[in-house]
């Protein structure tokens, strides 16, 4: 039996790296972790696994050879005028780099899942900037922690204990921290907070504006804003102004409710205002374990974090035009390659309709809903379990994910598969 220490978990943006995995006969038999999601992934990842390349024949997915599958994907990409390469947040940075190269080669558009989660956060950052810090800074110093529109108790299970409200830092113990939750309902996170502020759905912008006004010593004449009594807002403003080191964590409750990037603008404006009084940071709770890495890689290679279009031979970024949902629902693209994602399960109906009506290829360890609809499916190895790779934590700290077991025979990694496709694409283009 082999015991592997300090294993990074490839689940959420927390990238907890203190897990212990025990392996026997190339099988994970035990996981020491404090997170149910993590242990479930390590112990069950291989179930309902597809291990054969598949191709659609007469409406049915039938097994085929890897060569045939690669050939079909390469042809699909070369023949398309404007292919979309989507996904990329549940794979390694090494695979993401190959993805950019491939998108550039075929003159397509590459987009990652940011487009449907924290895209508005990035647009906000592009408006106003990003006063932030690493999670260790929060742990060492924060005496006020605000979770706004996010629910780490369920979504980022170890966030509070490892990095934020319940963590023990050098200068700060859990009992010295105040915890505030702002949400539309009393979430499990809210139940353990010192203060819970129940905001009316889609009125976060108003609440943040009220807070900012109070910090600027302006009078508010209303009795309540966004369903919150003005006294409670005043208390919250004082709490924020009076802390020594505050941090605002926010989730999709802000980015995907009414206002979107304007909500983020309001949150950033609030944090900028607070820095006049004290030290205050802000951080999005990124979901997929390497969505941050996808933004990083795309940014350093192309200048833009997502929705990068290569149709003119150089990188362009036009959110609302080159973003995956818009490309699909307007029917711009004529082929799609999905890597490590499942857009059929969560994209709007019009987008999914178009996605399925044009040639579609999927690279994924699982048979996802998208894979069910695909013309070609290539199974891949699990990054962080069957393959090494780099990933970035939600605060931008990079970590190397480990390989703890061998993948099933014949299963290649995303990098290897994309490399084969890229080579074949180049050959086909030369032949044309």
């Amino acid at each position: 039996m082999k015991v592997i220490n300090a294993v990074v978990c490839p689940c959420c943006g927390n990238l907890c790296d203190d897990n212990e995995v025990q392996v026997e006969d190339n099988k994970i038999v035990k996981v020491r972790t404090e997170c149910a999601i993590s242990s479930s992934k390590f112990l069950n990842y291989y179930k309902e696994r597809n291990t054969k390349p598949l191709v659609r024949v007469d409406g049915q997915l039938k097994p085929t050879t890897l060569e045939d599958a690669i050939e079909r994907v390469a042809r699909m990409l070369v023949e398309a005028e404007y292919p979309l390469l989507y996904g990329w947040s549940l794979t390694s940075c090494e695979a993401q780099k190959k993805g950019v190269e491939l998108a550039e080669e075929v003159g397509g558009v590459i987009d990652n899942t940011t487009t449907v989660c924290h895209g508005p956060s990035i647009l906000g950052v592009q408006d106003l900037g990003d006063p932030t810090c690493t999670l260790g800074e929060v742990r060492a110093r924060a005496d006020l922690i605000i979770y706004w529109g996010c629910n780490p108790s369920s979504a980022h299970v170890r966030h509070m204990k490892r990095y934020s409200s319940l963590s023990k830092g050098r200068f700060r113990l859990p009992e010295q921290r105040k915890v505030v939750v702002v949400d539309v309902r009393k979430t499990p996170t809210a139940r353990n907070a010192n203060v819970f502020v129940q905001v009316k759905p889609n009125q976060d912008y108003e609440l943040m504006t009220a807070l900012k006004m109070l910090l600027q010593n302006e009078e508010i004449e209303e009795q309540e804003v966004a369903g919150v009594p003005i006294e409670q807002i005043e208390e919250l403003a004082e709490l924020m102004r009076g802390c020594e080191f505050g941090v605002l964590f926010y989730g999709l409750g802000l980015t995907m409710s009414e206002g979107r990037e304007k909500n983020i603008d309001a949150a950033l404006t609030l944090v900028r205002e607070l820095n006049k009084w004290t030290k205050f940071a802000i951080m999005p709770m990124r979901g997929h374990y390497n969505v941050t890495g996808a933004n990083q890689v795309l940014t350093w290679q192309t200048g833009y974090p997502y929705a990068v279009d290569f149709s003119r031979g150089y990188p362009r970024f036009e959110p609302g035009d080159t973003t995956a949902v818009d490309v699909l629902s307007r029917g711009y693209n004529d082929a799609t390659l999905v890597v490590a994602s499942d857009p059929v399960a969560n994209f709007p109906k019009d987008a999914v309709k178009h996605l399925c009506s044009e040639p579609l290829a999927v690279i994924d360890p699982h048979i996802s809903l998208t894979a069910f609809m695909a013309d070609v499916v290539i199974p891949s190895a699990f990054i962080g379990i069957e393959e090494e790779g780099t990933a970035y934590r939600m605060d931008g700290v990079p970590l190397i994910l480990k390989k703890v077991v061998e993948p099933p025979e014949g299963i290649l990694s995303d990098v290897q598969i994309l490399d084969l496709i890229l080579k074949r694409v180049r050959e086909l283009k030369r032949g044309r």
Binding site: K97, E244, T299, T302, G303, G313, Y314, F317, G396
Partner: protein
Amino acid sequence: MRNMEYLLKNGYVVDPANKIDCERKDIAVKDGKIVESVDESRAKVIDVKDMLVMPGGVDLHSHIAGSKVNVGRLFRPEDHYKDYEVRSGVRRSGVGHSVPSIFTTGYRYAILGYTTVFEPATPPLKTLHTHDELNDIPILDKACFPLFGNNWFVMEYIRDGKLEECAAYIAWLMRSIKGYAIKVVDPGGVETWKWGGTVQDFDQEVPRFGITPREIVRGLVKVNKLLGLPHPIHVHANQLGMPGNYKTTLRTMDAVKDLATGDRPILHLTHVQFNAYGGVDYLSISSHADDIADYVNKNPHVTMDIGQVIFGDTTTMTADGPFEYKLFNLLRGKWANADVEVETGAGVVPITYSRSNYVHAVMWCIGLELALLIKDPWRVFITTDHPNGGPFTEYPRVFSWLMSKKARERVLKRLPRLARARTNLKDIDREYTFYELAISTRAATAKILGLSNKGHLGVGADADIAVFNINPKEVNPSVDYKLVRQAFSRAYLTMKDGEIVVKDGEIVAAPVGRTYWVNTKAPKDVEDVVISEVKKLFEEYYTVRFENYYIPESYLACSAPIQPLEPAG
């Protein structure tokens, strides 16, 4: 092809390290190195008749890769829209302008005739990111300097007088994360900023750590000597950007004077233009470049680079988070801050330097004054602190200003009258020669970085060569400064490790460059104790595991470890 043989014939060679000043000389290249001669029948002969031949440029301070650079790229799409590169041949596509995407960074440096560029600030915890980007930079040889000036372990070891332990800690860290030199940014100031405060004085105590910036700088100079690192400590002094800060700069230099032995510099002060201001506020800001130059002229223990300002739009980025916050409060535009646990921080703020702005005009003068008033070009280097003063692509403009009083005056006469009055530039007649330019951008930077194979064209050197289409015997740079600018903007030929990478200003090959790092070691018994201490505290201080902090050598696309020097006595 690296294994090809070349003969560059009939050029005018400027190679200050070998005391060659505009001599007609052939350069022979074989297996990536400069050699005595090659067989002319086998070698590819390139006629560079009457052209200027120099070693490849060596830039010791340019923010080209890593987390803060990427913040700049990400939050400034407006920086990229108008400046893009279409994919062609071996060249990948990309964008500029002040924070170019990674491939474009490598190409544009090569086109300027530069072949070695060092990233001067990396937070150790995020150095994997820095290497990730450095791996992607084509052509150039590179390295990165980890930040130590606000590191908890460093501050506490120095405070407790445990210098050997501090050296062992830095040795372990440098080796583990593949760094090259000790970088110090606003010593103690960033830790203070993490509580929202700032360091106002060189002798102010850092909250909760009981140590002053002076003690940190002195301690690290001593540690650098103990470790025998090839480069002196690389310091961004306190109070950067503040009126009246020239006093702090002088005190920083003077604080370590007694630690110098012989003529070897022990302190490199970086982008000093930002640290040479007089006055009490921005209305009264003035140049004190003359005082600083005077000190440097009298004291051999210091080198510096200038951090020249270029009028136009750019992005400031530094580990000096408190400075960026102050700048944000002046400009009220975008502001990014990125504190990193235990170690350091960072800030990013876009800026447009304007000719009509009095403060910016003074800044422009100061950079050039430093380069012109410091007499020894082996101790003052041309940088723009890319992209803080301006993008590196503007280097040719800086060269022309230094080589021509006429070129400077063209700008000077359009500056606010008060700015001209409160600076010294108008009274300076000195003009750089090609020889001095080659020292400042090549020979001297390679020497201070401890790169014996770079910055010269002697036998055995790496065949990193830049050829510019300008005849140094005929062109008078003082008058024809535009020709100088044009020639240095597009190298006629750039060779990297014996491979032609730029031909007539176009990229023709994009090989992978090396990443240098120093394989530092401290006495084993001390190191063992220190590592076990660090391990014990690591869990409490950091949010990653000790094991995962380490960066394996295999992560570097082309690893080039170098050994430390013999520790100085």
